[in-house]
Symmetry: C2
């Protein structure tokens, strides 16, 4: 029944919170990520933990969510797309310098754990979450526990193939036709750019008024009922549905949770097409798995990170 500390390290900011067992955030801090070195980022985390711990001996531990691939056997960040943390021995350094039990985890796995314990997947034992943001992250909960694969690198659900003849992955991956190439914010920006170039007199192009033709523009136009913009987002939703077909057949979760910055902003247009594809193309009983929006928003990663030390 002790509090824990959750840290969500992002490419631009680090969120830190002291979290109660019921998921309530009782104190929070935020700093800009010092992207110059992995060592600097670990120092920032230590400072945030000390400030939130404030001499309290009753803390149960620290969970740290990181945007990259984790090797749980060694407690090391294998690679992180946007941060200089490759091979950083995060668990050992943070444990030694905070004197607390430290767990590190992929950030999308943290979000999945948070939604599972306190959000959209509460009450289920098996859930799969996709975070649609700059990239597409994934988190899987099986029997109430985060699923990590053999070394902790699994559940990279943005990199499932949905079109073997599709475009290269916009993220740091050598593959092509991956889910991330269709329904990340980056992918939608690329689609909007291509659409505007091909339709310079179209409604989306005219709405830009010289601003960048990106995913934000599509969301703004769609909110105003622009059918061109809505069609672009529905395309992303259809692709998302194909990804859900794969994940339904592979994991058979009880629920799919769709979150992430882009996922939350676009949910009015992408969720229904995604559900339709799942209903039409997955086998029973998987075709009936509910697809719901995330509930914890930008705090999901931090709240989920704080759950990790409790999971043992």
């Amino acid at each position: 029944v002790f509090d824990t500390i959750g840290i969500d390290v992002g490419g631009t900011k680090i969120l830190a919170g002291r979290v109660r067992p019921d998921g309530l955030i009782v104190a929070r801090l935020q700093v800009r990520t010092e992207r110059a070195s992995g060592r600097g980022i670990l120092t920032q985390i230590v400072r945030l933990v000390r400030e939130l711990a404030a001499g309290d001996d009753d803390l149960h531990g620290v969970g740290v969510g990181l945007p990259g691939t984790i090797d749980q056997r060694r407690g090391v960040v294998v690679q992180a797309a946007n941060l200089p943390m490759a091979e950083a021995p995060a668990r050992e350094v943070l444990g030694r310098e905070t004197g607390l039990h430290v767990v590190i985890e992929n950030d999308a796995n943290c979000a999945a754990v948070a939604e599972h314990r306190h959000g959209a997947a509460a009450g289920y034992r098996h859930s799969v979450m996709l975070t649609l943001g700059t990239g597409v992250g994934g988190g899987v909960v099986i029997d109430d526990r985060p699923f990590r694969g053999a070394t902790g690198a699994g559940a990279e659900l943005g990199h499932i193939v949905i079109d073997r003849n599709g475009p290269p992955c916009p993220g740091s991956c050598n593959g092509h036709g991956h889910l991330e190439a269709y329904c990340s914010g980056t992918a939608v920006t690329l689609a909007v750019e291509a659409h505007v170039a091909a339709n310079p007199g179209g409604s989306v192009a005219r709405s830009a008024h010289g601003d960048p033709a990106d995913g934000h523009l599509a969301l703004e136009c769609a909110a105003n009922g622009d059918p061109e913009a809505i069609a672009l987002l529905v395309d992303a939703g259809n692709a998302l549905g194909q990804g859900l077909v794969t994940l339904a057949h592979a994991f058979e979760p009880e629920v799919f949770v769709i979150g992430g910055g882009f996922g939350e902003a676009a949910q009015s247009w992408i969720l229904e097409p995604a559900r339709r594809v799942l209903r039409a193309e997955a086998m029973d009983p998987m075709s009936r798995i509910p697809v719901v929006p995330s509930q914890l928003g930008g705090d999901a990663g931090m709240i989920g990170a704080a759950e990790l030390p409790r999971l043992g």
Copy 2:
């Protein structure tokens, strides 16, 4: 340390064996599947169990592998593509009529368990097996236990999407572009038919001598070094590789095992292309997961079924 009985129910035959804890088959029986009714199949299984048990009270239980979707909560076959077993309450009927502890399971999951315990994946804790036959089946072992999804319907790995614009699934599924549409025996037969129709003067067409232009023909021609036939099988191997990229990113197993009748017959041509795609297109460390052929052949399903009662 007691023996168990494993039953592998197929569309044409039922294999039954009495199996030692070390995987050795000490007695075996085989009958033709009485496809007229699900009740008839259950009666066949009961008869096989009684014969193999032969009054021995030291049996530890019975495992039954079935070619369909299982609901583990109810112990029921939800659907089986080629057998009239929909909604058959297999676990209850077999338990009552044999007086033994009965576990039912999808047949590809059984094969995966067998390879994990006694075959190509022995020594690993996390493995994914694909059985390439008439269709494509899948089995996943996580932490030394079969993974089944929320109700037992998961790990339908033949139905992961690899091309959202691809052809309809040849099996009983409403989807399209699934792995099964590229690297099952059925899919390769369709590819050979199309190839022969388009190239009536080609080497594969000429080798047919009026026999059906199917997967067997492609294997026979490839064994004789026919480059047309080899190219068709390499296509299937490349598609298999795309499926492995998805499964590597989703499950991060320590090893992939490729089996099934077609998979075993075609391994000389499909495994290397599949490995090449995985190496080139998956992220580290998943790109380095070994891809190995199955070792237990046609007995895998029966041996794996016999393991189930031991798993508790």
